[in-house]
Symmetry: C2
Subunit: 304 residues, 2 copies
Amino acid sequence: MRCSKCGNPKVIIKKEQSGQLLCKDCFIESIEKKAIKTIRKEKLLDKKDKVLVALSGGKDSVTALEILNTFREMNVIDICAVTVDEGIDNYRQDGVDIAIRHAKRLGIEHKVVSLKDEYGITLDEIMQKDNHKGSCTYCGVFRRTIINKAAREMGATKIATGHNLDDEVQAIIMNYLEGNTDNLTKLGAKSESKAKEFTVKIKPLREIPEREIGLYVVAKDLEVHFDSCPYAQQSFRGEVSEVLNQLSKKHPTIKYSTLRGYDKIKEVLKKEFKKEYPKGRCERCGEPSANRLCKACTFIEELN
Amino acid sequence: MRCSKCGNPKVIIKKEQSGQLLCKDCFIESIEKKAIKTIRKEKLLDKKDKVLVALSGGKDSVTALEILNTFREMNVIDICAVTVDEGIDNYRQDGVDIAIRHAKRLGIEHKVVSLKDEYGITLDEIMQKDNHKGSCTYCGVFRRTIINKAAREMGATKIATGHNLDDEVQAIIMNYLEGNTDNLTKLGAKSESKAKEFTVKIKPLREIPEREIGLYVVAKDLEVHFDSCPYAQQSFRGEVSEVLNQLSKKHPTIKYSTLRGYDKIKEVLKKEFKKEYPKGRCERCGEPSANRLCKACTFIEELN
């Protein structure tokens, strides 16, 4: 058992897809190369971009920050970060602290925004309500709004998220199963918002399996928050994730073939189902919205 | 517990999707109505059609025959049937016998064609070869060729198969997972072959869950071959089927939403990825083929 690249006898991984054996240094290099390949192929970065990393402190966003930081060190881009504190007791604070330490270590501008400060309610408090619609519904909408607002306030030209291959394929399959053709025009390495109020989002880790990101942070000795969200188990996404991992055991390339097929389908769907971006404003918070109230403010009114 | 339609206390099913309770007569009527709805909506039948039913003797094809026969009794269409004997010991003969009895009972023209007679080899013999590519690969290609040829010989204008909702959604998800955009343009209630050598195929049971077809044949006391193919367990389809049934437990409408979403996606994909139908002929058997040899004859040459 020797590294397929350099012959080092200290192998740390057998790649699920290719069967390749890699030592620590070659593995780290392979992950960084893969992210850079995605960045180049999908044209995720432009010179002088100021990239806002949505930094939860988990393995994915810390890896995204780490890899994007190499472009900052080369003076190609500038980086800032935002951490959303959803207000989940015994869970979120560790991630926030870790995010703060990474921002400090790299010397980047960083902001922590809490749901409580922004909307007057925590996710834990929402989950106590009788009429709640499931944790992920709120978390997704509130986080998106907060991150989008932070990007404008911090003058960011791109928002980078840590979505990995597993996240992306789960979303694709969920939307196939739900028959949601509208959402199926929106997934991908780069969002295509034409309205200037929506900062373009990029996913540099989109082709890296979750398992390999987990190993990357260990190999690079990066401090990350490894707990998973206490509400995650209840979700449809969790079921789809389980099913995909089950199929991957016998078909190790299935996540990649799903992604490649989707990318072809998306190009075609986009032409047909593309929606107009909202041109109006939310009466309550001033964020872009197709209706009188944006989604976040609609939820807040329903919950009160 | 009473039938949601007529109040009959003898309920035989609670419909998974709607939660509706039905007695035997109302259940039978609901299945027949649903197939007729698909036939009308998708324009599967034209007056004076001669429909060749691909009749294995299993629950699906027997149900397709039974429902299409109501259109024959009204003199809307004519019906004939073909049964393919793949040569699977301890399995196929029962189905063939049952198919013969149904054809006789209804007084319809019926033909049994064996792989052995047509290609000089049985599926069991193929599976003994060291270089075989998996049972379903051969079975699919040989059956398709035999049925297509029978349709021409018997003067059929349509070929009806017993594909149910589960079959169709399995095929959709398999192709999503494999990223096979070419195949994704081809699934659906009705094939769209423009070449006259390929008889149009229709799937009248496409919106009926497998479980309900199983119950229909029991409720109508139809003789069917209930064994499943001894080779079926090895297939990717089997894994996908299991996964879909697992997801359906908590999300009972998921097969329908997948189907509806796919139908929208297909319309768009067709415009972009539509392939030309082969204009040439197989040198060996004379069937339509894009290459020197058709797929079936290529397999035969490889196996010899």
